[in-house]
Symmetry: C2
Subunit: 213 residues, 2 copies
DNA sequence: ACTAGATGTAAACAATTGCTGACTTAACCT
DNA sequence: AGGTTAAGTCAGCAATTGTTTACATCTAGT
């Protein structure tokens, strides 16, 4: 049932877009990135299991088989997304002055959408049942909490300061919870609170859990 | 709630067939409950999309077709789980004295497992893409936050006290975040913190966000 | 220009999904 | 007892899943 005459005369008509035929260069790196972006959006908003590789490929405007080619499998693509998100989280959280933590959290939480830190962390929380993915997630969370705790006197191998680390993780969890709740449920007034609405209570929260030394 | 009736009902089907079929009682209500319990566990720990009806039926030791019979569909079963969890959350949170909120939160967070309030709320956060499920979730979250806020001076239709409601929702989100983080990632020391470890910081957190009036 | 490898496409695979219909078996009632 | 109906079983469907395979087409190096 080959409907296509296999001749060199058959030229691609491109019936969908009437515009200037966007001469499609073949660029592996670009399609890889397109897939990564689409996958990150889908995984973040729908979760791993609810996302199909065809969803991702369609969003990226790319053939499904290329997922297997470039990432070996759906799980491989997910891990790549997690790694990218992890790198970005480390990059972003690495340069926050200790005295501006509440403002930074407020800003990141207020900024919905998968581009912001909130989206990255939400993605990090998504589970695929894959062991490697769990490692990546754990690594990022540990890094972030230690980053936060070290500004308040926590030092590794100092059992006395473990309380500080616990409190830092609670701050992290609180921020994460707000982000998740905001993005998953239209609960007013939280879900539509602005950065200004959030920064005050958040300062109270951070100061209470991690008093400036 | 998983009390096995000591009666004659214990009927674990021997998969190796043939054997003297243990006399099994037919009890629609009990079967329904078995399915609900198994589904709640699966949905809570694996999420909606990653859970299959066959998983649930096997866990419950019940035939798959009975899910369709008793709950019409997988979505119907999920909604039933959500409704049950919502009822239990309302029942539990309804009777917490305002001055013992930190202790209550600490106790609930420390108590892992799907039986506790933490599990119920984690389940509430799970999404199935179903509109009715979203309504149930929103209703419970609204109820819980208003319950918490009203003890601190919030009144409906008083725009001035909206700040209090926002802060109550932030407390709720913080607790939720800790619960989710603890159950999803072995992040030390948070994931193994005991109730005693948590209650102190939690009191600081609640007092900071919702100062006793 | 011409070939070789990279890139993309189409179709199909086996496995799994939620769900259904016809069937069997147990429980209850006179 | 018998017989009626609820409760449970079985096998299989149609759709969807992730993945692979064979093929087409573009790009780059000579």
């Amino acid at each position: 049932m080959t409907a296509d005459p296999p001749g060199p005369a058959s030229r691609k008509a491109d019936p969908t877009t009437g515009g200037p035929a966007p001469r499609r260069r073949r660029d592996a790196a670009e399609t890889r990135q397109l897939l990564l972006d689409a996958a990150r959006r889908r995984f973040t908003s729908d979760g791993y299991a609810a996302t199909t590789v065809r969803d991702i490929a369609d969003d990226a405007g790319v053939n499904v088989a290329l997922i297997s080619r470039y990432f070996a499998s759906k799980e491989g693509l997910f891990e790549a997304c997690l790694r990218a998100a992890g790198d970005e989280v480390r990059r972003t959280t690495g340069k926050v002055p200790p005295d501006q933590v509440p403002e930074a959290i407020a800003r990141q939480i207020a900024d919905l959408g998968i581009a912001g830190l909130t989206g990255q962390l939400t993605l990090l929380l998504r589970s695929s049942g894959d062991a490697r993915a769990d490692e990546i997630r754990l690594g990022v969370l540990r890094y972030s909490s230690e980053q936060l705790a070290s500004a308040r006197g926590w030092r590794p191998d100092e059992p006395d300061s473990e309380r500080v680390l616990l409190r830092a993780q609670m701050v992290l969890a609180a921020g994460l919870g707000m982000a998740v709740l905001r993005s998953s449920t239209p609960l007013q007034p939280l879900s539509s609170a602005t950065e200004q609405d959030l920064v005050g209570p958040l300062r109270d929260l951070v100061d209470a859990l991690l008093p400036p030394r």
